[in-house]
Symmetry: C2
Subunit: 570 residues, 2 copies
């Protein structure tokens, strides 16, 4: 992974063949097509010496090999941040206040137990680390942590341990990246069916710890819906939940571990539902407006024919998608203009209000054909048109590339981030409108309205997930406050409407100021009870998920120059 | 409800028109067609005076009406037991060691808060009570409880408060019985779709507290899968979970509340997914043996056409079902004999090994026809035959009557109980065999093998629920030990194979000796953490779900004459 950017160090977002993209971005955000400002040189970043608790290190060296214990500058830096906007701001500027003192690479369940036991004996804090793609501050060392901090990378525990074909479950180590586990499962004819945007660089353990959602979650559920059994190593013991389909043996401990964000222990292994590999087809549809798109999705739900993916973009996101298209040949350009005229004349679809929907079908050719037929019939009933597979295929091919575009925009002086939520269907359209208004109010600057894209990414019988992307010009010298004002307004708007603080990005450190508003004082009390029972000395990922004594917004991102430091003890 | 039996006081299991039933029962269990021994006369049962904490009563009388506070003998007795075999043994014998001192009838969320607050101030123990159908000792006063105990009946909180038609959710008070909430939802064109065997006499709050499953759970999920949001009043505060489809805001608090069996607080209200009312059709199929039935169900799962109900009975349960049929006309008898010959000759189905499957389809007429076509085609592939709707309709009409048959058998000197579990598909058949063997080994007496029926009641992609019914003659004077030996052998067999301690009956008091084997020491620690956080003074349903300092089997059902009493403090 890059230190100050997303993903593959050899890869950047390609602007080639997208002649209209930057003019679109500039017209709404003011972020100009300028020479990129590269991040601060990695080698010039200063990092204080690690604070290493000697008894801890001694205990480790007895049980782990030399190459499993790192305290070098590069490894520490590569494990100090996730990939949130705030992380990237700091990484680009080369500011690292606090990094883990050690990075450990266990290779088995037993070695994780060794590490946790040694940490408990020496009061060393532990931060579990998968792919490092977290965007809510879930893997950083919080500024007030004074003890030795060891980040525990699960990346060497990346095997598919067992496939039980008759039960359609697989037991997989937590550190397996998406492509690693899919490759092993595919070889046996199966898939997990979980493809989050971070798929290429994130791990099963990370997905579980944060309640991740993927592209095909409409069919297979979020990661929490795929769990059969989990193993988590806590300071007070190892929790292995029963390997059975369903139980009535008290509160669901799988659902206590899922979403625990490392604060209760380290997830080492999971038995997950898997599915036989199938074919797929991606198409795009166009509907007259967002409300028609919502109506179409709800209709598919009620008629029991919701495809595996049904992702509705708002008009602005639809325009961004169009702006990414290659320049058409002169003949094709004429056809496209005719097409637009036809859409307006016969369907009443005006391009500036039109919304694209990506639909993904899975199954045998016959099953896909049946699904397609039903969904396209309903699409016509809702005044939509089928644009075929080419835009669908283009979206599918580029679906993991958006974070690279963020890097490019940030290098050119842009602020770019996302915020997502879920709401009941009765709230979806009002929330869509109010979030759009709130974000535009925050981002508008002179001639530039700011970019506020939204897509409805996941649908349930009772409601949906709305995913907002926003972008504007960065205010140099005031980056964090500028961003925080936008984020705060967005979160307050969604909480005021009763929507979820997060649908699949989790809480971490950055959402901490609002967790009590989201789940209530008694809800936080329940989480504290779990923490106290499983990790009474607050060794595991301290300062995340559970608010400390000071968790007001003022303490959220403290001014580094201030001498008063907030207390993050839960 | 009856005190010493199931359900409607005016109703008994009808033996009329079932000429072969009792001879079948007697041939396997030895329980003879004798004159029933009625339970001890209700009026003769002695009950010690209630121990009433005066400050508590005073606090209540300020806020509740006179008719909401009961301490009379009848009300206390009617709330002292659930409906387990052990409960019925005690009720029939008129033995009540300890009943609640008070029974309270709150009519609103606020009144529940009043009760919980007053209890906290006076160290009064609270037992939430819905319909009282629990069969694991979940609503009784544990023998060592010395404080005042108030049972809180939720039965006056039985309204459907709101239906959000666009989100397909309804907010319902916890004390609504199945027929009450269905009647309100049906009037608006909806159904919850939850029909457990206890449906007529159990409540939404009870279903939630115990992770109940219903007849159509294959389609709509267990009760925990239908929850959108819950409200629970705990001694340390009221927990209201977000009213949204899905979240990533830490551990799932809905799944902490569901299954908490009253030990964390009192569930007062739930927002649940609902569905438009649809038509249905019940049929019965016959397959050559249990393994073919399992194969057929798994095939339906893989082909994505599992009906709403698909309930596979073992040969013994199938024989019991046949024994319940009315005497055929002479002509029909000939046809039935010919049918059996045909089954054997053309299908290779031998009646003594044959297994019945009840299938229930739901939807429009068209949808039902499509489902039927696919399922019957697969049935033929698995050497099964369609027996049509008459046996299906008969099963549907009598589906809530089995507990009444238990009463009749107990009156005639029978021991009858059930035990259920869930397991991965790879374990289902070995577990079926080992449980059958274990139970028969325990029940066999002279010429009588004992009755061990099993049905596969619910199916999941990864496995299934197996539900065992067992019966034999009661050993007078040794009833509890006789039963405990059977129950212990059954539970040890299923735990040894890694199956669930319970799939939908919960833990309560009777399963307590095995909860740590089922969820592990760290699992129990997590539950204790929740308890400590939400109910630190152990006011809520003490002695249930979480093992106390003494929870070994020896302390499970203590000899009442013994002076050493086990400690149930968690």
């Amino acid at each position: 992974m890059k230190f100050a950017g997303w993903g593959d160090p050899g890869k950047r977002f390609s602007l080639e063949g997208k002649p209209n993209l930057w003019s679109f971005i500039e017209s709404v955000t003011g972020v100009a097509d300028s020479t990129p400002t590269p991040p601060v040189d990695f080698d010039s970043i200063t990092l204080s010496e690690p604070r290493i608790e000697e008894t801890f290190l001694l205990a480790l060296t007895k049980q782990l090999r030399h190459d499993q214990i790192a305290s070098d500058r590069t490894t520490r830096l590569l494990h100090c941040y996730g990939k949130s906007y705030r992380d990237l701001l700091r990484a680009i500027a080369g500011k690292v206040e606090r990094a883990p003192d050690l990075v450990l690479f266990p290779e088995s369940q037993e070695e994780v137990v060794t590490i946790v036991t040694a940490a408990a004996a020496s009061n060393v804090k532990l931060i579990p680390f998968g792919g490092g793609t977290n965007i809510v501050g879930g893997v950083e060392v919080t500024p007030t942590t004074r003890s030795t901090v060891a980040t525990v990378s699960l990346r060497r525990m990346n095997r598919v341990l067992r496939i039980d074909e008759s039960s359609l479950v697989a037991t997989i180590e937590a550190g397996a990246l998406g492509p690693e586990l899919e490759s092993d499962l595919n070889a046996a004819g199966y898939t997990l069916g979980h493809f989050p945007d971070s798929f290429e660089f994130s791990t099963l353990g990370g997905w579980l710890a944060t309640r991740s959602a993927g592209m095909q979650s409409d069919r297979w559920g979020k990661i929490e819906d795929m769990v059969v059994s989990l193993t988590m190593v806590s300071p007070t013991g190892t929790l292995r939940t029963p390997r059975v389909p369903k139980t009535a043996t008290g509160p669901d401990l799988n659902q206590v571990i899922v979403g625990s964000e490392g604060i209760l222990g380290i997830i080492t292994e999971a038995t997950m539902r898997i599915h036989p590999l199938e074919g797929s087809e991606y198409r795009s549809l166009l509907v007259p407006d967002f409300a028609s798109g919502v109506a179409l999705i709800r209709r598919c739900l009620r008629e029991d024919c919701l495809p595996s993916t049904m992702r509705l973009s708002c008009p602005e996101e639809t325009q961004l998608g169009i702006a990414m298209k290659p320049r058409p040949s002169p003949g094709k350009a004429i056809l496209q203009r005719l097409g637009k005229t036809w859409l307006r004349a016969t369907k009443g679809i005006q391009m500036e209000k039109a919304c694209a929907i990506i639909v993904g079908f899975e199954g045998s050719r016959k099953r896909i054909a049946e699904q397609r037929k039903r969904v396209l019939a309903l699409t016509r009933e809702h005044r939509g048109v089928d644009l075929g597979t080419s835009a669908g295929d283009r979206w599918f091919a580029g679906k993991y590339d958006y974070p690279y575009l963020r890097d490019t925009m940030m290098e050119r002086g842009g602020m770019v981030d996302v915020t997502e939520t879920s709401a009941l269907w009765s709230e979806v359209l009002p929330l869509y409108e109010s979030m759009k208004r709130t974000l535009h109010d925050q981002l508008r600057e002179g001639d530039f309205p700011g970019y506020v894209g939204c897509h409805l990414s996941h649908s349930y019988a009772s409601g949906a997930c709305l995913y907002f992307t926003f972008a504007a010009r960065r205010e140099p010298g005031n980056e964090l406050n500028q961003y925080l004002a936008v984020k705060r307004a967005a979160v307050e708007t969604l909480l005021a409407s009763g929507a979820a603080l997060s649908h699949h990005h989790a809480i971490g450190y950055e959402h901490l100021p609002w967790i009590e508003s989201a789940i209530g004082e008694t809800g936080v009390r329940a989480l504290k009870g779990l923490k106290e029972a499983l990790d009474p000395d607050d060794l595991c990922n301290p300062g995340k998920l559970i608010p400390g004594r000071e968790s007001s917004l003022d303490h959220f991102w403290p001014d580094p120059s201030s001498s008063a430091t907030p207390d993050q003890e839960p």
